[in-house]
């Protein structure tokens, strides 16, 4: 391969984009696209790639068919999937053993392999095309959609879909002020959680006198259950880098820093490769494209601290210090990294920027609701049929996301709640399903947008246990600077723990509410200010469940270990052995077609049998021993 040419003018960049676009249009070779993000790889995507290569060689098609290894396509449930072009087929859950059939049947004989098509779990109908699959139908994938079109390790692939075209437009024709005005017209708000208007933030930094200025891409995606930033960095790193270059130009920054979680090795690898490639092409460094704009990007790996998602803690971490937040103002846009004006936006926000500058702020502002513009990527996970990354216009309802796109709850179970916004967010019940989602509506409902994690829970999920889970997370991640947060999260955790163990007292709920208010009022950063949200939202919507734990010493969902014992209901048990096979401690007795029973002495209450039973024959009963103990007191 010849060495890449350094681009020296804006015109040269435009020509490079056009050349790559034409090359792709002219290329009539069939393409097999394999999704290989972290999840895809964990499910054997790279083995599928290898098997396809071997199969193509065997069929003497290796020169005539292209294999494109891409990032995640969002439909995680179907991983690894293979798209066949130009046949426009979507094969899901592909196994290396399917490679020969795909090559011989589909590529050679133009036949569709029915067994590999997506099958609707409800209707049983198959869908040959991506567009026909309900998961994709209601989405609008303006940010994430390109993942399926490019090999993230090849900059030419990004150019071929018009990538860096927005940068050429900005550097060739626009002033920094015009760029900021366009972002303001678009109405873009920060996708990291708080929803601050991006254009306003940029303007603030631009108007500051201090130099040098910096921009930071916050890729320290710490919310458990959210992974859209990982997917975007893995699958389309140039999109984020283009956004940063445009932002750097608008603000007048000299350096950009990507602060990325070390737990995302593939994202780190792909974005590092992309930065290298940009340097080689002359799109990073001094006097980029002869415009006088000098800008470089470096990558800093996080060391694992949730609080570093907070801007000032993140800056401290980049400076090599303990990641403790500091008082704002001054805001980072005034005094940030090294005491200089700094703009911090998250990965998804940066990923929206090229779109806005490419298609115009007015175009962008047509998507979404009055106050929340554009699309938002949600990670739909938990007890849901179609797990995956979902990109929808702001204003889409929870019901559309969970039932139309997500395909509802597996195993015919009932929807109970959806948790949005990570540890700072809240749990929303069935009555909120028709809520159109935007920044304001979620906040009003005691949850938040956050970075877009959406964890679906069914009736076997205990809300007290969920509150305990988040409090445990927060007390662990509290940096300890503010007493209210450090001690408050710990005390709230202790109270919820004792409730879950059946030792709750009357008055505990009121005490929790009081503590929650104090932690909210007296903490400095958003981790503390929102730390009580998991408690407040579960108390608001699921108070009865708390009361059942406290007054009746009962866990209705059958989760809190101290309050339950597992028994087999003889009239429901079919003797199918499923629970026996699931038990890790061999404490279930019974043979095929014979009612099973659980050895209570040996039982470790792991709940594996409860999860495994398809006939509701395993019951999580109230453990009477606790009630007796309570009587003795």
């Amino acid at each position: 391969m010849k060495a890449p040419v350094k681009l020296k003018t804006v015109k040269a960049l435009e020509q490079a984009v056009e050349a790559q676009k034409k090359l792709r249009q002219a290329d009539k070779k069939p393409v097999l696209t394999v999704s290989a993000g972290t999840c895809g790889q964990a499910r054997g995507a790279l083995k599928v790639v290898e098997a396809l290569q071997t199969a193509l060689k065997k069929a003497k098609l290796d020169k005539k068919v292209k294999i494109r290894v891409t990032g995640c396509h969002g439909f995680c449930e179907a991983e690894p999937n293979v798209l066949v072009h130009p046949h426009d087929l979507f094969y899901q859950k592909v196994d290396p053993a399917n490679a020969d059939t795909i090559v011989l049947e589909t590529l050679k004989k133009n036949r569709t392999i029915k067994a590999l098509l997506y099958k609707d779990p409800v209707t049983g109908k198959t869908a040959p095309r991506e567009k026909a699959i309900p998961f994709y139908k209601k989405q609008r994938r303006v940010v994430l959609g390109d993942n399926a079109l490019i090999d993230p390790t090849q900059i030419d692939d990004y150019l071929a879909i018009g990538g860096y075209g927005a940068l050429a437009k900005v550097l060739g024709k626009m002033t920094p002020e015009a760029v900021i005005a366009e972002v303001k017209t678009a109405g873009l708000r920060g996708r990291g959680g708080a929803g601050f208007p991006t254009g306003v933030k940029w303007e603030m930094a631009r108007s500051q006198k201090g130099t040098p200025k910096y921009i930071i891409c916050n890729a320290d995606e710490g919310d458990p259950g959210a992974y859209m930033d990982r997917s975007l960095l893995e699958g389309n790193p140039h999109r984020v880098l283009e956004g940063m270059l445009i932002g750097g130009f608008a603000i007048g920054a000299c350096e950009g820093i990507i602060f990325v979680r070390d737990e995302y090795p593939l994202a780190v690898k792909h974005v590092s490769l992309a930065v290298e490639e940009l340097r080689k092409r002359g799109l990073l460094g001094s006097d980029i494209l002869g415009t006088g704009f000098s800008f470089d990007i470096r990558i800093v790996k996080g060391a694992g601290a949730f609080v570093c998602g907070e801007e000032t803690a993140l800056i401290a971490s980049i400076e090599g210090l303990v990641g403790e937040p500091r008082q704002r103002p001054p805001f980072p846009a005034e005094k940030g990294l090294n005491g200089k004006p700094t703009v911090i936006n998250n990965v998804e926000t940066w990923g929206n920027v090229p779109l806005i500058l490419g298609k115009g702020g007015a175009w962008y502002a047509k998507i979404g609701t009055e106050k929340s513009k554009g699309t938002k990527i949600f990670s739909l996970v938990g007890k849901i049929n179609n797990t995956g990354l979902v990109e929808v216009p702001m204003g889409t309802t929870l019901r559309e996301i969970i039932f139309d796109i997500g395909g509802g709850i597996p195993g015919g179970r009932k929807f109970k709640a959806v948790q949005t916004g990570g540890p700072s967010g809240g749990c929303l019940p069935t009555s909120k399903l028709d809520l159109p989602i935007d920044y304001e509506s979620l906040t009003a409902a005691s949850a938040i947008m956050g970075s877009g994690g959406m964890i679906v829970m069914d009736d076997k999920t205990c809300m007290v246990d969920i509150a305990k889970y988040f409090l445990n997370f927060l007390r662990d991640e509290s940096c300890g600077k503010c007493v209210s947060c450090r001690e408050g999260t710990q005390r709230m955790y202790e109270i919820v723990t004792r409730i879950s163990e059946g030792k709750g007292k009357v008055g505990d709920i009121e005490l929790l509410e009081e503590l929650a208010a104090a932690v909210k009022d007296a903490s400095m950063c958003n981790l503390g200010i929102t730390a009580a949200n998991p408690i407040l939202s579960t108390l608001r919507y699921f108070k009865r469940e708390y009361e059942a734990h406290i007054k009746e010493k009962r866990c209705p969902a059958g989760v809190c270990k101290s309050l339950i014992r597992f028994t087999v209901l003889p009239d429901k048990c079919t003797g199918c052995l499923a629970c026996k096979r699931a038990c890790p401690n061999d404490c279930i007795h019974g043979t095929l077609r014979e009612v099973h029973n659980i050895d209570q002495e040996k039982c470790i209450k792991c709940g594996a049998c409860y999860e495994a039973c398809r006939f509701e024959a395993v019951e999580a009963q109230r453990d009477e021993a606790i009630v007796i103990l309570e009587g003795v007191k």
């Binding site: 259950g225 992974y227 737990e263 694992g304 090599g320 999920t461």
Partner: protein, 154 residues
């Protein structure tokens, strides 16, 4: 473990002995030794010019660093929200029961270190367990024994 002064010095020099690179230096040392040996921390303090107390402060603040030697195989159980509702804590308990150590500790024979992570971002395949960088998708309590056996004699 023998800590070679030269090796640690090379890692420090790679980052130009800069104070701002303290975390990156510690990350490199941890990658080399799989934990932060005391001697290495002292050396960092001297070469970078940060008081040892502050080096330890950073080393203990961030989750990625370990001050104790780790086992031959590192088992990481994901406890993200999605894994939690799908039974992650029960998987952790089963590892604790089978390995006879609590989360964060190493077995006596030095074979396994059991750790947790707050989310690996591959929620679709949860509950997830990662051993030495290899992802085990959709684990269950029943699969724990087999996962341990797979690495026992490696």
């Amino acid at each position: 473990m023998d800590v070679q002064t030269d090796r640690v010095n090379a890692l420090i020099r790679k980052h130009k002995s800069e104070k701002k690179a303290l975390i990156a230096i510690l990350q490199d040392i941890q990658a080399e030794y799989s934990y932060l040996p005391k001697e290495a921390l002292q050396q960092v303090s001297r070469s970078v010019g940060v008081p040892l107390i502050d080096v330890i402060g950073v080393a203990t603040f961030y989750r990625a660093f370990s001050l104790k030697p780790r086992g031959k195989h590192v088992v990481t159980v994901c406890l993200g929200t999605a894994c939690h509702v799908r039974g992650g804590p029960k998987i952790l308990e089963e590892f604790e029961r089978r390995l006879g150590v609590a989360s964060g500790d190493t077995t006596e024979d030095g074979k396994f270190t059991l750790e947790t992570v707050a989310c690996l971002g591959c929620c679709a395949i949860g509950p997830v367990v990662v051993v030495d960088g290899e992802y085990h998708a959709q684990t269950s309590i029943r699969k724990v024994e087999a996962i341990i056996k797979q690495y026992l004699n490696k």
